[in-house]
């Protein structure tokens, strides 16, 4: 048996906030600000629930003695120590910054560095995978922009620098604007489905 209360809450609160966005009536605007404030706190709490979920998933892996439990140990150790240290001393104290500078930054920056190889690999295989007008234009643009992003060893190819700026100012903007407008239509539709009660991602029972 579905419980209509949750749908009523979602729709009611959503409509109040939505109308509060558009109609600049003090009562509605203030109500919107309060509701949004509560929501921002809840989103932060949800992040903590997410941390607990992460912890329990790996704790369960550990307790069920799965083959990759060493990974779970690493995660749990990292999470516990960081949370304990930065939670107790504060996230911006020198000891927390030490963990941040020497563990998080090196790993995360290295993952970003891996991305450079992954992206070239994807670019190399793209033409074989999808040999069409879209791909050829994509590759041609990417190559021109890449060439003009660097110093090209001091060689100045006339017009190429201007071409890079023009692509960034005109056709790239046109495509981006078209995509953003289309996406905004999609966002409105998805949001309205929630406010109509057609989509109910929250549990209902």
């Amino acid at each position: 048996m579905k419980n209509p209360i949750y749908a009523a809450v979602a729709i009611g609160v959503g409509l109040v906030v939505l109308v509060g966005y558009f109609l600049q009536i003090d009562l509605l605007v203030n109500l919107r600000i309060i509701l949004l404030n509560w929501a921002t706190i809840l989103i932060a709490v949800a992040l903590l629930v997410g941390v607990v979920n992460l912890f329990t998933v790996h704790w369960r892996k550990l307790s069920t003695d799965q083959p990759d439990k060493i990974n779970s140990i690493a995660l749990l150790v990292g999470l516990t120590i960081t949370l304990a240290v930065s939670g107790w001393f504060g996230p911006t104290t020198p000891i927390s910054l030490w963990i941040f500078n020497y563990i998080q930054i090196p790993v995360e920056a290295s993952l970003m560095a891996l991305l450079s190889v992954v992206l070239i690999y994807a670019g190399v295989r793209l033409l074989r995978r999808k040999p069409n007008l879209l791909t050829i234009t994509f590759i041609a643009t990417a190559v021109v922009i890449l060439l003009m992003s660097g110093h090209l060893f001091g060689i100045d190819i006339p017009g190429l620098a201007a071409l890079r700026i023009w692509i960034g100012k005109v056709p790239a903007v046109a495509g981006a604007r078209g995509i953003l407008l289309g996406v905004s239509l999609g966002i409105i539709a998805a949001g309205l489905r929630i406010l109509m009660g057609a989509d109910r991602p929250y549990g209902e029972n």
Partner: protein, 529 residues
Amino acid sequence: MDEIICPLCGKSNPIDNKYCDYCLAYLKPRETSEPVPDSDTNRGGLGGHSTGEQAPSWLKEIWGSNSSDEETPAERDLGLELPPADTSDWMPGSSAKESETQQAGSTVSPFLGGKESDDSDEIPAWLNDALIEEGVPEGQEAEDLESQPQYGEQDKASQTEKNAVRQGPGSLESAGPLAGLTGVLSAEPGIARIRKPKAYSTKIRISDSQLEHVKLLQSILEEEGQPKPLPEKSPISQQHVLRWSIALVLLISVFWSLIFSKGQIPLPIYDEGSAEVNRLINQLPENSRVLVGFDFEPGLASELDAAAYSVFDHLVSQGTLFTTISTTPTGPILAERFFQYILPNEKLIDGQDYVNLGYLPGGAAGLLNFIENPPGMMPYSIEGSSVWATETSEALPPVNGINEITDFEMIILLVDDPDIARIWVEQLSPYITDSQTLTSLVLVTSAQLEPIVRPYFESIPQSVNGLVVGLRGGSAYARLVGGEQLPGQFWDAFGVGTFVAALLILVGGLAYYVVPELSRTVRGQEKVE
């Protein structure tokens, strides 16, 4: 008019007809050389007549069927058969049918271009079974072929009886116990129907070439049945080789340029955006209050550090006070790190030179609330100390006199995410574009954001007043204001890296497309999919 009844079909034909107009049977008996038995004449004039003259040859043969192997013309023309004299078997005409099949075989043989083979040992069992399954059981062909003449012969039998009756009582029985009597109804037609069934070959007749095909098919089917071991998956695939090659080329080029670069390549010349940032910072009064949004991921710290380094160096030299805020949880730590470790000047003092408001949850909604009411939304610093002016305490210098977002002289956003950049710009746009507002918005972004943020800079009126994009922008700014340590360190390797990447994508992509061996893995994978 005179007419003659056809002895076969019973239809009347003109008397002078030799053949029946309907069934082409002989209407008149042939002349036979069969001698009239003397006994007939010796019987003393009882109206006896020679069978050879009066009785049609077909009837005569029915009478004396056992002794005659000779076919009548009608039999020849219609293919009627008589039982062989020597047969004890009830099924008739097997020998005739065999000769018929033999004949068929001999006609097929030259056409197939090979000698016939009816050796069933050479034909796989499954093919025989298949034939049986397909409704062609052994001897079936024989039955089919036999059934047709039987009906024909039944008709013919009834006709023969009719004709025999028409011949009238004058006919003389020449054989059996009733020999000599006339008007005897012949039992022959009925008996004549009982024949030895034809024996047909139950073997499939196929040529050598057909047999070869059959054997080939059999071998293919047998191979299909055999389980084949899966091909050993090579631990090193084409993908691995390609990845390794790309990584090797890129790493070598980057390290090479870092180690052996002489720093001869000049930094890029400033562009419109960075020049505008420089102008705006130069216009800032001393101890001006700047709000800085640290909204990038630690993974891109290198790029944003390099891009923002000279800008902040310039700001610090102007005696600017900073207030930092982030919409990402790691932002406050990045801000602290930037002020404590990255900037070249002596360390800035927290709470005096800068204040870290910390993390602002709630994305766009949270940001909107903060823009509308900064003190109300972020009352404390990340350390939990009070920041804004209250009854009991004074505001910290960086936020002294700040009640609204437009009280800041400048807002600088360090961002790597297009959505976060757009949220900031769109929420601030009404204030920035307002002609009454003196606050300017400057973006220091990752290179990937250029086509997203540039329109805001190009728009009229401007939603973004200054723009420094990526390492290139940071290097251009560094060249403009001097302070080339950090960007200068990166610029040479960056140029080499982008050049190598463009080359790899262009040349490698074409080679991968043209040379099929290289792309085998992809095709294989696509097949799998």
